[in-house]
């Protein structure tokens, strides 16, 4: 039964192998991708059901007992992340069918996409620090190749910056991991939770924890480590941008949450102030960067950064409510952000450009499209009753409860500035009349493939659903945060009686 834990990792790799076997048959590839993603999604749902009803699940891979072998562990947070990965995987697999050019498909788009998802699922499920490094590498390799698959100048330029900074982040992670091993002699995360508390010099532990903060901060796009993100995320095909925006930075946020609750609980070392400060600056700088841009995908890229600030704010506050808010925000944000990127592809199909100046008049011609954009955009900004409102409400409430009035103010103001950028896209792309000079070239196609519309519609419906009935997700997030704040259940599930 615990084999279920390995399934979200194995399925994408099997589908990748199948896709490689059918290299020349592109329809076969896209059909197998959609089928594989559906199975991945179903398995994610089963995993969450199991964790919810039977507690934390552990699989000792190869039968080696926990601190020696590699353990896969699924608590509420991991299971929720795997499930949402399945949602994104499915949406992107369907969307890719219409969006990705035959050229990219022949260069191996689908196998890379599957490997990326396999790496992401592995990172969410592993209970071993070195194994986490390996999954990060699997994920990075696939993402490097996906990013530069089209080989345009912008892609190569963005790709170089993305690859370089991510390699440095990986090295920092590896160095931190080596130092943790030197201090404790173990790499199992549950075992580390116990062992790191017994290290004689807490200053050493705090110093090493900053290495992890920097490494995962680069992946998550924390201030001041985010510059690679807006330099690269707008260059690949929309489907690739979407899966990157939804999942890659969130793996960084997940790793931050995991390490700073399980391995390095904030003591009085000052690391917590660092995290809170970085979170506030990330929110502000991200949203200001977005205000300065006029290309839809670059605006959205900067908003990823600003939103990561909210999640890290929840981690930094580390009260039960704040952590619940962080997990809620994480899940809501993935749905909304992937959807916005997918819609940017639709806008380009309709209006012929990503540039706001060259767009216009879509509200008149694309009423449904306007609605589909409106839902995620204003959910991102936190307009009630959409999902983002609840996420922001929980976090601002948690900041006020913890007495951090400045942080609560920052979170509220950044929400307002998000409204500004979203209304900018709304005004320019949908509301204003299209310039007469551009009307001749007409750019856009009259019909958009149903393969592209369907995932956008489903994700928008999911956003509305979370907004109207936030209770289910809230309870899940609350359970996840309880497990994070009191890791004894996690440690017991992994190690049993080994102490």
């Amino acid at each position: 039964m615990n084999g279920l834990l390995a399934a979200p990792i194995i399925i994408p790799f099997v589908v990748a192998a199948v896709a490689l076997l059918g290299r020349r048959r592109l329809h076969f590839q896209s059909a197998s991708a959609i089928l594989g993603a559906a199975v991945h999604l179903a398995v994610g749902g089963m995993l969450l059901y199991r964790v919810h009803h039977h507690g934390i699940a552990v699989l000792n891979v190869g039968g080696w007992p926990a601190p020696f072998g590699i353990a896969l562990v699924a608590d509420h947070l991991s299971a929720l992340m795997v499930l949402i990965t399945g949602v994104v995987y499915g949406s992107v697999a369907v969307y890719s069918r219409a969006e990705i050019t035959a050229d990219c498909l022949q260069r191996g788009y689908y196998p890379l996409l599957h490997i990326l998802v396999g790496g992401i699922s592995g990172a969410f499920l592993t209970g071993d620090l070195f194994n986490l490094y390996v999954w990060f590498e699997v994920m990075l390799m696939a993402s490097f190749a996906l990013l530069v698959l089209g080989r345009t100048r912008a892609q190569l330029d963005g790709g170089v910056k993305y690859v370089v900074i991510n390699l440095i982040s990986t090295l920092l992670f590896l160095a931190g991991l080596g130092l943790v091993y030197a201090m404790t002699g173990t790499l199992n995360m549950a075992h580390l939770h116990l062992k790191l508390q017994t290290v004689s010099d807490p200053g050493q532990v705090a110093a090493v924890s900053v290495l992890f903060l920097t490494a995962f901060g680069i992946k998550a796009g924390l201030f001041p480590l985010f510059f690679w993100l807006p330099a690269s995320y707008h260059t690949p095909p929309v489907a690739v941008s979407a899966i990157f925006s939804g999942l890659l930075t969130k793996v960084g946020v997940y790793a931050l949450i995991r390490t700073f609750t399980l391995l390095f609980p904030f003591g009085d070392s000052g690391v917590r102030d660092l995290v809170l400060g970085a979170a506030a600056l990330t929110m502000i700088i991200g949203v200001l960067g977005a205000a300065a841009h006029s290309e839809i995908r670059r605006i959205l890229s900067f908003h990823i950064i600003s939103q990561v600030g909210y999640m890290v704010l929840g981690l930094g506050l580390l009260t039960p409510l704040a952590l619940t808010g962080a997990v809620f925000y994480l899940l809501h944000h993935i749905v909304v952000k992937v959807n916005l990127f997918l819609i940017s592809g639709l806008i380009r199909q309709w209006g012929g450009s990503f540039e706001l100046a060259r767009l216009g008049g879509l509200f008149r011609t694309r009423g449904l499209g306007a609605l589909l954009f409106f839902i995620p955009a204003f959910s991102l900004a936190g307009i009630p009753p959409l999902s983002g409102f609840w996420a922001k409400l929980i976090l601002i409430r948690a900041s006020l409860d913890a007495g951090h009035f400045v942080l609560a103010g920052v979170a509220a103001v950044v929400g307002l500035l998000t409204v500004y950028s979203m209304s900018k896209i709304w005004n320019e792309a949908f509301w204003k009349p299209k310039a007469a000079a551009d009307r001749q070239e007409a750019g856009g196609e009259s019909r958009v493939s149903a393969w592209m519309l369907a995932p956008v519609g489903v994700l928008a419906a999911l956003t509305v659903l979370i907004g109207l009935a936030p209770e289910t997700l809230y309870q899940m997030a609350r359970l996840a945060s309880e497990e994070l704040l009191d890791p004894s259940a996690y440690v017991y599930s992994v190690l049993g009686s080994v102490r």
């Binding site: 050019t101 390996v134 590498e137 390799m141 190569l156 963005g158 390699l167 080596g178 095909p237």
Partner: protein
Amino acid sequence: METVLALLSGAMLAASLFLMLGRHLVRFIFGLVLASNAVNLLIFAAGRPGTARPPLIPDGSRLPVAAVANSLPQALILTAIVIGFALLVFIFILFFVTYQKLGTVNTEAMTDAESVTAGPGPRERAEP
């Protein structure tokens, strides 16, 4: 032994930082090679080198009879080397293709993705 390894690792890391900050893609590759080896040395030092006895368990026994070398860091390093090599090959090819397309290896001159006017979008969708 550990002191020597620590100093060596630190010196390599310092040199690699110098190379990586050189605004030149080829220098960056050399810096990256140095840095990843410095980190590997650090993991090696983490395993407390010094015991010469190989970690072998004699026949009929379930535990090693005397203190043996810790083999786990070497397994970790081996994994890191393999992954690092794959990344290195990828980065070589990426930088080479970038040089062919952009005609420069100076990172200051690489501004295609962040130009003020929009870069070229993804390729036009091939109509079925």
